[in-house]
């Protein structure tokens, strides 16, 4: 592990967006401080509010005190600052495709999971939309081991933390991703075998407990 001065993440344990940043740093072999923010339930630190005045959200990545916000932008910054191993493909077209799919995942996946687990009744339309999105991603994956190709990379990092929420979605929605989207499921297992990923992600059972607690709080149960 190489030491780089002053790397700090303002974090919230269940946030898949924070986990993206941790995976990127792990992939680069960097040590960092992981500081937990009480993001959802009040008590945001002065540092968080000062570092991300526009959105006041985690993750915030501080490099020698300089803040970078928005998880996909942070991952790009990490990749550009510490070049080895590269997270994006070398050619411009491949990079454009990677950015396109990262944007697609950002726009679609988390909201689609929310439409299922925030729903009191089992929402068939939400389930179909979610499965549709995963099938679209399966098409993008094709026969490759990773979205990035033969090696784990940018799009894989953007996508994999969201899968920790799939257990909750499966239990509440009454289906399994393995049955509906086996290719996506295989890709998930492949990524989870990487140490950089496994040590950054929470136990999906704990995410499920969090979702149940959130549903109770919102009066959805």
């Amino acid at each position: 592990m190489s030491k780089a001065a002053g790397l700090l993440i303002l974090d919230y344990w269940v946030s898949p967006f924070c986990q993206r940043v941790k995976i990127a740093l792990n992939e680069k072999g960097l040590q960092y401080e992981d500081r937990h923010e009480n993001d959802l339930f009040g008590g945001k630190s002065e540092l968080l509010l000062k570092s991300n005045p526009v959105y006041q959200k985690v993750p915030v990545f501080l490099h020698d005190g300089k803040p970078v916000c928005e998880s996909t932008i942070i991952v790009s910054y990490i990749d550009e600052t510490w070049s080895s191993p590269p997270l994006l493909p070398p050619c411009s077209y491949g990079r454009a495709q990677a950015r396109f799919w990262a944007d697609y995942i950002d726009k679609k996946v988390f909201d689609a999971t929310g439409n299922i687990w925030r729903s009191k009744e089992v929402n068939v339309e939400a389930k179909n939309e979610f499965i549709g999105i995963l099938k679209q991603l399966e098409e993008a994956l094709g026969d490759k081991d990773y979205f990035n190709g033969a090696t784990f990379g940018f799009v894989d990092i953007i996508a994999i933390p969201l899968t920790c929420w799939f257990l909750a979605v499966e239990r509440i929605g009454g289906f399994t991703v393995a049955e509906e989207c086996p290719k996506f499921s295989s890709w998930t297992k492949r990524c989870l075998q990487r140490e950089s990923v496994a040590k950054a992600l929470p136990d999906p059972e704990k995410v499920y407990e969090f979702v149940l607690m959130f549903r109770k709080m919102q009066g959805i149960e």
Binding site: V54, H63, K66, V68, C69, E70, I73, I74, S76, Y77, E80, T81, S92, Y93, R95, A96, Q97, R99, F100, D103, Y104, Q136
Partner: protein, 219 residues
């Protein structure tokens, strides 16, 4: 289709305008193909099957979709002329953050101004101006965003200017009165040929918005 650059676009799209500006900045010759969005062409659906939207940039027969992805692609491929993103990674991250802010905030709050009335419209106007003031704050005393030459954030934001007249007419307010510094920045950008030639005529955009309002049954 072999070789060359083709842009599938719609004349009033601020997202398409971003790409037009980037191509003009780099002096890239390309074929512009106007699309009928009510009757989408086979080519559009084939080149952007995921979102089925314009703009689509086609380079050597291969499609690139999403305007900010396209601008970054153009900047990387034609890197020897008029760089849009800075070289320094921290400045690049800052530029991406503000371009992303424009993407997340401007289109929706602007659309709500012409699509709604009453309290909802007032809330949309307030949010729109707040977003512009945040951008003014980021611009600061610089001539362009980022403090270097005309670049990525300028390209991401300036196309929205040609919709301002429509927002003002529909919302009954003056954007220049609220955000004079931003309008000064717009005027500076409009002196560049790449911008002036890429933006639509605000009067035509307003006519288009009136036509859309009628079609949606608004008002």
């Amino acid at each position: 289709m072999e070789g060359g650059v083709v842009l599938l676009d719609f004349w009033a799209s601020m997202f398409g305008m971003r790409v037009r500006i980037a191509l003009a900045e780099k002096e890239i010759k390309y074929e512009y193909r106007e699309q009928d969005l009510r009757n989408k062409s086979d080519l559009l659906l084939q080149m952007n099957p995921v979102h089925k939207k314009i703009p689509v940039l086609i380079h050597n027969g291969k499609p690139i979709c999403e305007s900010l992805v396209q601008v970054q692609y153009i900047d990387e491929v034609w890197h020897d002329k008029a760089p849009l993103l800075p070289a320094d990674p921290y400045k690049r991250a800052t530029a991406r953050f503000w371009a992303d802010f424009v993407d997340k905030k401007m289109y929706d709050s602007g659309s709500k101004i012409w699509k709604t009335k009453g309290e909802e419209q007032e809330a949309a106007k307030k949010e729109f101006i707040e977003n512009l003031k945040l951008l003014e704050g980021e611009l600061g005393d610089n001539l362009y965003f980022g403090g270097e030459g005309f670049g990525y954030v300028d390209v991401a934001l300036v196309p929205f200017y040609c919709w301002f007249y429509a927002y003002e007419q529909c919302g009954g307010f003056s954007i220049e009165a609220e955000c004079p510094k931003l309008i000064a920045w717009v005027k500076r950008c409009m002196q560049k040929e790449s911008v002036a030639k890429s933006l639509a005529d605000p009067e035509k955009v307003y006519e288009f918005v009136l036509h859309l309002k009628k079609a949606y049954g608004i008002e």
